[in-house]
Symmetry: C2
DNA sequence: GATATTAGATACACGACTGTAGCTCAAGAC
DNA sequence: GTCTTGAGCTACAGTCGTGTATCTAATATC
């Protein structure tokens, strides 16, 4: 008579991980404004009471999930290849932006209610490797080595790559091709560093 | 006993305008995912039945409101002043993005449910003056006059200004200053056209 | 093995929004 | 002035999410 054959009961880390995964999937499918405790609990296959024991509302769950995300991989400047490193950095960024965590961040940034709840601390933690760090790390590395004038590495210039990738993702919603990323590097970033073709 | 002293009854255009305004305000305050017929009706001070007579659900109302928005002002290249015209174009864009209509568009673009409902036609109509038209109009004008090599006006280059303004709005949420816009033009757009300092 | 936690399974009252129905009456058309 | 349209008003049943309470049994701790 064992309908559900003694499903092992989850606790602690394992359970929380399942809930975090559930809320990230939910926000991707439904949007930040349509998050409900009910849907999160259903997807995580746990009673709502379990959620209320730890969090007060759906956005609370979502922010907690983001807070516990693994930090994004950092671009590591390799050989003496500014162009290649920039492309790789943008690839990292695009991959992250299309992941559930990246999509969740986008949902939060544009949701009035969650934007208001974002603490400085969370913002720092989640976006430290986003705001400009992807290409900035690479650019700083080569600026230090004198590959281009350091005073050209302004906040605007450090943002060019991320901004163009973001815009492309907003416009098309599809992953950028290598050609797209190359074009961004060759036609926008390198010229801004005085490294025209 | 006349509590509400014979409020004139609205019809047609006037009423629809009020509803369009209401839904745009709602989406700015609550987000696309939290739109309800109820809240829209309340804000427009009309019964819900009036909404159901024309639209099937809140997103339907929102998309209709956007469809009837006045087109955004076009940047008109003035004297022989590429730099100034670019800054003015970006100012137009930033102002629009911060308006209710602009915020509504941002909400829609990042809402999974409404993004799916966006028709090509609406996308064209609402975004014709967004995707790249703000600075592209200006750039095309000066490219035609040979102020810079026309082959440098690639899709990527035409997007640089809009992309950086968008990123700044996403990051800070506040209107960019004239200095911000000047920096974008001087440090990112002009170099990409081979017009360094 | 005994004990403390805490996930899992209900149940429930409450409120919000939905979609429809029925009616009254103001505004526009003729 | 009469007629037609459609806004304004009210009511209602149905659904979904909320937040809490209660009980159980599995898991961890000692």
């Amino acid at each position: 008579m064992g309908e559900h054959p003694a499903r092992t009961r989850r606790r602690g880390e394992e359970l929380i991980k399942a809930i975090h995964d559930a809320v990230l999937q939910e926000v991707v499918e439904a949007g930040a404004g349509r998050l409900t405790m009910d849907a999160i609990a259903r997807r995580a296959a746990t009673p709502r009471t379990t959620l209320y024991r730890r969090w007060s509302d759906p956005l609370d769950v979502l922010l907690d999930a983001l807070y516990h995300q693994h930090p994004v991989e950092e671009p590591t400047p390799g050989a003496d290849d500014l162009r290649g490193d920039l492309i790789r950095a943008l690839r990292l960024m695009a991959d992250w932006a299309l992941s559930p965590a990246g999509r969740a961040v986008a949902a939060i940034l544009t949701d009035p209610k969650s934007a208001a709840l974002m603490s400085e601390a969370l913002f720092e933690r989640v976006f430290a490797n986003r705001g400009g760090t992807f290409t900035r790390t690479v650019l700083q590395h080569y600026a230090d080595r004198g590959r281009f004038p350091a005073e050209l590495l302004t906040p605007v210039v450090a943002d060019i790559g991320e901004a163009l990738v973001t815009k492309r993702l907003l416009d098309t919603g599809t992953p950028p091709s290598d050609e797209d990323l190359s074009a961004i590097v060759d036609q926008a970033i390198l010229p801004a560093l005085g490294l025209g073709p």
